[in-house]
Amino acid sequence: MATANPIPDDTSIATHATADLVVFVTAMAAEEFKGTLANLEATFPAESIIVSTQNALPADFQTPLRIVPLPQTNPLWMLKASDFVAAAQCGLEHEAKAILILGPGADSLSPLSLRRLAEAVLTASIDLVVPHYSIAAHAGLINSAILYPLTRAAFASRVRFPLSIDLGLSTRMAERLAAVAQRVPPFSQSETLLWPVNEAVAAGFTLEEVDVGARSLPQPSDPDVNSILALVTGSLFADLEAKAALWQRPRRAPLIRRPQAEPTASGGTADVPRMVAAFRLATANLQEIWSLVLSPNSLLMLKRCSVLEAAEFRMPDNLWARIVFDFLIAYRLRTINRGHLLGAMIPLYLAWVAGHINVTASGTPAERHIEAVAAAFEADKPYLVARWRWPDRFNS
């Protein structure tokens, strides 16, 4: 077992040094940190960057990089609000032009990906650079089902991973995110998610998506989908509630050509009967709660879905869009307790996942289906805006 020593004394000079690029490495496992430093060494000249980190440098590891130690924290599966504050402070102290934030598992990012992320900010003067990961067909499903389509519909942003854990930031973008993070009460800093894409759109900053290939995504310490969905979706809903005046304005999403390479659909159909059974159970028991949130038309369509066989199960894209919009409206209106609301959404999400797996198993590429879902969200945005303004009536 490698012993973790504090950062060597000679690196403390880096606190007074300046560099165009500051790399902020969040807390991660020792091996991951070593791998990340090795990749940084391979990507950038040692004198051109400063690495600011919450990790202890292993004793047997030598690096020419200038390292600024920060107070150590426990590794998390996401970027927390305090990370943005620390990153912005580092950037300010070292007079950086760009800040690269690398989350847990960043050792799986190739040197080329790191260079692309940094160069987009340094040379192309982009304020926010978000990576586009190549992930397995049935990975990142909450992102595919809710985060991406909803962010795209609301903010006309085509960023595929709005809750990315690696980011390239200009100094003004970092300062804005730090300002948002500082408004978060200290006791909830480690639980609050920030939405950089939404902030960039709100500030009118430029943002770009960079293809970085495959990356191992860290998973939450609590693997229960109930808590993850409630945390992530609740956070996005709250952010949308705070920025309602912004996203209600009509916007046109820019066209982005994504690589045609499709990850192959790998299994997952074994889980479909279980998820469909969970949906059926919820249909039988949660009608009373759903009827407070969903329109009668949606309820009828859900009942029709519930009688489908597991192998034939599909969740229509427009129905899913309408469901998410109705839950967002109910979240805003506090129709029922917000914890209950997000809990009641879980069986519907599992139903979407079951339908998505069936669609991909039938030969449709996963990305094509996800794009179709996102397009359905965009098409139904007028319904969201109308109900947001006049929430007392269901239009259909």
Binding site: H138, Q219, P223, D224, A244, L333
Partner: protein, 268 residues
């Protein structure tokens, strides 16, 4: 001898006829009338004593409610005119829903503050006037205050019961328990039974019978559930405990994959 008997009989008949036939009836009616008069007098005296208080209560409530409505309306118009919501939204970057806008909150708060103030002043006036009538024994008014407390208890109990029932229902459905509705109903009725017992106790109705009945009922339900869980889910509980013990040492690490999904599905 016969003359003696005849004289005695005559005297007796004279005596009987000499007593007024309605004297007893008059006495009973008199007593009843007196009792009724005294009762009416007592009630009227009490009413006269507390009536100004009741009137004062309603007058204070109505006056302050009207004043509250007026203040609320003025505030709402003023704040809308100065565009307070827009200013706050610009400053804080927050959009407000119509029911939670700062203007609406301030207007509603001012209205309800006035209503509560009227209520306090009214109760105070009523209390003062009632204190003058306490010499007259009547148990209805103290009972009314208990009834108000009991009503509040009942409302709180119903709200808590609904909240807990919903929590249990959603959690059970997400845990894919087939008897989710049964569990939810069980929790709801447990809380409602507890509330009913508290309400009856607060009203001092039933005395020990209610406590005893509640104890038996509540204990019975808990025992039934314990037996059901203990006998029906013995294997499940033991497996769960075993797996917890086994995985205690692994909790410090971030797992690569969620435990409750297959290897090919990742929700995040």
């Amino acid at each position: 001898m016969q003359t003696l008997i005849a004289n005695a009989a005559q005297q007796a008949s004279q005596n009987i006829s000499g007593i007024p036939a309605y004297s007893e009836d008059v006495s009973i009616w008199h007593q009843m009338s007196n009792a009724l008069h005294q009762s009416i007098y007592r009630v009227l005296t009490l009413l006269i004593a507390v009536l100004p208080g009741i009137l004062a209560f309603f007058v204070a409530l109505v006056v302050f409610t009207v004043a509250g409505a007026a203040i609320s309306s003025i505030l709402r118009r003023t704040l809308t005119w100065i565009k307070l919501d827009l200013r706050i939204a610009r400053k804080g970057g927050t959009d407000w829903s119509p029911s939670t806008s700062p203007t609406d909150i301030i207007a509603r708060a001012s209205f309800w503050i006035c209503v509560v103030l009227g209520l306090i002043i009214g109760v105070s006036a009523f209390d003062t006037s009632y204190a003058t009538g306490t010499a007259l024994p009547i148990s209805l008014l103290p009972y009314l205050t208990h009834a108000v407390g009991a009503a509040l208890l009942l409302i709180a109990g119903i709200i808590i019961a609904r909240f807990l029932a919903r929590s249990v229902l959603i959690s059970a459905v997400n845990a894919q328990l087939q008897y989710s509705r049964f569990l939810s109903l069980g929790v709801k009725w447990l809380v409602l039974v507890l509330t009913a017992a508290m309400v009856l106790d607060h009203l001092q109705v039933g005395g020990n019978v209610v406590e005893l009945a509640f104890g038996i009922l509540f204990g019975g339900i808990v025992l039934t559930l314990s037996l059901a869980v203990g006998l029906g889910s013995r294997d499940l509980v033991s497996r769960s405990l075993e797996s917890r013990v086994e995985h205690t040492g692994e909790r410090m690490h971030i797992p690569d994959e969620p435990a409750n999904t297959s290897s090919s599905i990742r929700h995040f």
